[in-house]
Assembly symmetry: C2
Homo-oligomer: 206 residues x 2
């Protein structure tokens, strides 16, 4: 099985890395904080390694598992090292008070990230509508994907499927806005009508 | 059982009216096209009546079942007749080519509608994430609701529940934007990953 790289050492990084290791992937974890990334890799046993922050990641798929506010720095720090990679943007660009999205009109976090990446990198929006603890818990989960590059999208779709999720293509990268709004809607749902964060959104067909 | 009023005579008007009649509501249907509204009321049997376009609706709940582009005219034509009513906005304010939302930055269709209504009317966003043919088909369906006025929201929540749907409060009226984005996301899903319009979004808890 191939290698995937994860930049970040928080709860989403841990949740995706955990499922990827179980699915047989070699997982490279990279972070500005070597101690945190080492601790996470140790927990994940021998399928996980640590990489060098800012150096070209080993995986063809690179997951940006940092908060939206931290993406610009990561992209600047890696620069050309991300060229040619499939970049998975999992961020929910929500205001600190969770009242709305912080993205510009007519754009999305994923599109803003795409603008700052090397031209040969392909951004795929995914995972932002699945809470980290729900991803760890497992069970039937649907994963929504938006991207412009068909090959990059197919690549992430296969990855997601091997992780035991059901991938659903929602369209091109501009549809990332709808997924980011869905992320915010789920936060609203958790705080209001559902009364729990232990929730997922599923597609019911037919 | 109380009366609800529906302004519109299209597929969503028919779907909501059909379920409301079955649930025992008296349904008043109102439209600028008397022939269409008469034909719809006749199909729905003796629980449905037609009302006069522009006159005060009989129901405390008034469902605006017209396209987003038609709401401004309806609101202007009814004017003060909608004062004190619970106004249910079911519109998906999507561009004709379905590429995005047409609402202003930081707002939503429901909030724009609220601005043009009499001060005593309370807008509730609901039903926009359920396709009309799916609403007719039945089965387990989740209905997402956003509103600022707690009493209006509770009122619509009860209505939705009596229709056999599971209501979920996602927060205040600004959260209508997330529901409108979810409506667009479902269109993208139907055209892309799901490959069918016969789909619904459900909440999976625990």
């Amino acid at each position: 099985m191939s290698t995937i790289s994860i930049i970040g050492s928080g709860s989403m990084a841990a949740a995706i890395a955990g499922r990827a290791c179980k699915a047989g992937y070699n997982v490279e974890i990279v972070s500005r904080d070597p101690a945190k990334v080492r601790a996470l890799a140790d927990k994940l046993a021998d399928k996980a390694n640590t990489g060098t922050y800012g150096a070209p990641p080993s995986g063809d798929i690179v997951i940006l598992a940092v908060p939206y506010s931290g993406i610009a720095m990561v992209v600047a720090d890696f620069g050309k090292a991300l060229d040619g990679k499939v970049i998975v943007d999992i961020a929910n660009p929500v205001a600190p008070d969770l009242s709305g999205l912080v993205t510009p009109h007519g754009s999305s976090g994923a599109q803003e990230t795409a603008k700052s990446l090397p031209a040969g990198a392909h951004v795929v929006k995914a995972f932002n509508t699945i809470f980290g603890h729900v991803l760890i818990r497992g069970g039937r989960l649907d994963a929504f994907i938006a991207a412009d590059d068909a090959q990059a999208k197919a690549c992430v779709s296969t990855f997601v499927e091997r992780l035991g999720l059901r991938p659903f293509d929602v369209g091109g990268l501009p549809m990332a806005h709808t997924l980011e709004a869905l992320g915010l809607m789920m936060i609203g749902l958790a705080k209001n009508g559902a009364g729990t964060w232990d929730l997922a959104m599923n597609v019911n067909i037919g």
